[in-house]
Symmetry: C2
Subunit: 496 residues, 2 copies
């Protein structure tokens, strides 16, 4: 037994001595100390030598036999199995980096090349106007927790995979909600529940776009959607945006166009609300091009002054508009719950695609949300959030007037949870300097330049612009943040 080399012992709790016997023999077999065909130590002898019960040794041997290291037979001595392929010793880490790695797919290569920017600093600065963030205290924790407990107790007698389209309770609740809140009359069968709007957009990209197609995209627009469409290999046709949203007069005529991605309720990021004329022009264009329209209604719940504008899908007579909804702006972006409202013709293929992608969205959360919509708690919450965000928005507009230079302008204020601050006395190239200086002073603001598609559109003369999200801040924080920013800008310390 003197030949048994002690390996760095890995005494995984529950299995104790048996485990280390197993490890010892396995190492010996792997490094050739016990070659193929050789007899393993007798169980009786090994047990005596190690001072353990014979059963402990036998169990380890059975494990090794089960894994194919040993060949055992009742009454016969155990032998090392053959033919064992020469064991692989992991290479030293220096060499490891050069090891040949198998190929990636074209999609994999594109994803690798896309080089998504890092997430915005996870360490928030004191006054962080981070767009997409919500205040945790706004989350309806009590109602959510109660509904969660109720649904947890209500689980059926067995747990099994659910349908890809989403729970019937949530789809039915959503149908009612969409009618009341977004003027959208659809059948619950047209709804597919997804993991946030990002998955909805990704499903559209996969199911509707080939690598030799093209898609129309708002310029500037929502970067994570663009990346998703670009990852299919399809070509991005940037289409200009003005204060009213997508400039439909400049929609391209191109036989490769299969899809247009639009944010008609509140253009991201500039904030325009697409007028009915343009909506109809967009639909007519889509008919001529035989193209799909993906309508991302990412913050359609928030519109100040007027009732939220009806969804584009409400005036779509052709079944070309795919409506993308989300709970990221009303509840939490970490919840990952959203939905598609699909033209009936493509419901089956989207259900199949969702099922292949991840079977279905988590069931319990769907039911919790359904019960909150059914009870009215969700819409009460949305109304409260609308009032809350109206206050924040008013504070921001007030603070801009009070603290920022006179020629500062604010756009996109009619809806949503962010505005764009335009500073005509700065050039777009100066945006990043201002962002960095503001950050150092404890104020987070975000440049618009990164959201433009075409270098030409960046070159077009325009003021420097910054996105200010306000949904995660208090009225006081908004005031203090703008005061600091105003001081910075008036000092001119940020600009040469």
């Amino acid at each position: 037994m003197g030949q048994l080399k002690q390996t760095p012992s890995d005494m995984r709790g529950a299995t104790g001595t048996g485990r280390s016997i197993y490890e010892l023999l396995r190492t010996q077999i792997a490094d050739g100390s016990l070659p193929a065909g050789a007899c393993a130590p007798s169980t009786r002898g090994l047990a005596a030598e190690l001072g353990v019960s014979r059963t402990t040794v036998t169990t380890a041997y059975e494990q090794l036999a089960a894994e194919g290291y040993l060949v055992t037979a009742t009454g016969r001595v155990a032998r090392v199995a053959r033919p064992l392929v020469a064991a692989q010793t992991p290479e030293p880490s220096g060499i490891r980096r050069t090891r040949p790695v198998p190929k990636l797919s074209d999609f994999g290569h594109r994803v690798q090349e896309i080089g998504l920017s890092a997430l915005p600093h996870t360490e928030p600065v004191r006054f962080d106007f981070l767009y997409g963030a919500l205040a945790s205290r706004d989350f309806p924790s009590l109602a959510w927790r109660r509904a969660y407990q109720t649904e947890l107790l209500r689980q059926q007698s067995r747990l099994f995979y659910a349908g890809p389209e989403g729970d019937a309770s949530l789809r039915s609740a959503l149908q009612g909600y969409l009618r009341r809140a977004r003027g959208l009359a659809c059948d619950a069968e047209q709804i597919v529940v997804v993991h946030g709007s990002q998955q909805g957009i990704d499903l559209c990209a996969r199911v509707l776009l080939n690598s030799d197609d093209a898609f129309v995209f708002e310029d500037p627009g929502y970067l994570m959607a663009r990346r998703c469409f670009e990852a299919t290999g399809a070509r991005c046709l940037a289409t200009a945006v003005d204060a009213q949203g997508l400039d439909t007069s400049s929609l391209p005529q191109d036989h490769r166009v299969r899809l247009a991605y639009v944010t008609p309720s509140h253009q991201f990021p500039l904030g325009g609300v697409l007028p009915i004329t343009r909506r109809q022009e967009l639909l007519q264009w889509a008919r001529r091009q035989n193209a799909w329209i993906v309508e991302d209604d990412y913050d359609g719940e928030f519109r100040y002054g007027q009732r939220p504008i009806d969804a584009l899908q409400t005036i779509d007579g052709d079944g070309r508009v795919i409506y993308v909804g989300t709970f990221s702006k009303t509840l939490s972006p970490q919840l990952r719950l959203g939905y598609l409202v699909l033209p009936p013709e493509i419901v089956p293929v989207f259900r199949q695609a969702k099922r292949l992608t991840d079977r279905h969205s988590p069931l319990l959360e769907q039911r919790v949300l359904a019960s909150m919509i059914e009870s009215g708690a969700y819409e009460r919450h949305v109304r409260r959030m609308r009032r809350e965000n109206e206050r924040r928005r008013a504070a921001l507009l007030d603070a801009v007037t009070r603290y920022l230079p006179k020629d500062a302008q604010v756009g996109g204020t009619a809806a949503g949870l962010h505005v764009v601050l335009w500073l005509p006395f700065l050039l777009p190239a100066e945006e990043l300097n201002v962002v960095a200086a503001a950050r150092q002073a404890g104020v987070g603001i975000y440049p618009v330049s990164t959201l433009f598609v075409e270098p030409e559109s960046l070159a077009r003369p325009r003021p420097a612009g910054f996105i200010l999200g306000y949904a995660s801040l208090t009225v006081e924080q908004i005031h203090m943040g703008m005061e600091i920013l105003g001081r910075l800008l008036s000092q001119g310390s940020t600009v040469k």
Copy 2:
């Protein structure tokens, strides 16, 4: 005002009379009763006529102006905007089916053609040996609920998107768990948290396979994985399986092969545990082919008698094995939580792909799970489940001996949550008859034939086989179900 046609009134709660004025005018504009350029009724006149306040009318007009239907200016009468594209009337539903729908992508077409089978009956029969289902009473509701409440209260001050790789707490907890439970030493940075193993498999398919590639697949094998790989357009190369798992001697030499999907811990469905020799042959083959290996460790936690066998990835010196783990078999398939352990070289591309796909998995559930692993509650639960399922398995084996014909055989019993029942006195073609007859008698069993890839493998002489999952049943249900099945089979009423 007599010309105002009453539309099917849609008095969405909150907005009342204003809403119906809005609807009336919008309908008139859409159907041409109020043509472009025409004056809208005066607000004062309309208010008087309808007996509402002028503000109500003005608000409706402002909404219409905001949406671009009307052009308003202070002190001037509102006019219908021009040029309005002729409004689309939705076509009657009879014609609707023939409307031209834009094209789908190649992926979309393949998904449509794949025709996934429907989910197994959601209405369980009395004794349903449905594989993949768990008993709800096995779910650790109390511990889960407590951890959920704690994590809900612990939320940070703002809610924002998290990293695609998954929460650091869960990845670190998983790293420790994988080392203890699966012998897998990895870095937390190699882990990407996904929505159940299905999303893990789908990410592998997208990132690693092109449409002109081929992949190796166990025959019979896990259908939902196969469909996922097939949806990329890649060709499925079926490789035979015997009682020990994948027959590595028949692995194909084919330059198009990019990937092999395997279930080494407990082959699905036949249940073999891949011996070390074959594991090494598989790795050597992958090196020659320069192919990836996707190791689906779907129920690696459940192994009876011996300690669970270590993961294939533990002996991979090349960085070719992608480990897929899931909580669907230990907690709930409805939770949609799983993870990939990736070779370091491809971590960045998988993180990017996950981010484009759906940003990240729900954060709260990740933290709940992390805290349950850290506290030891998760592993206590897994041990309890192992004992519980060992009892169920013993009951099933006992019941088969007791109630089924003598020549019935049970395979794949060493691990997992299901076995395969082979009935040598029946032909594979008779499986569906037996399934239907059993179902009518209140017993759910599932044919193996549907999991074979190649028509040739179906034609090979073999007994009829049935998958019996036992994890959702009580010991009594297992006995009663087998008793009924035994009676059916001995009557021979199911077979001609």
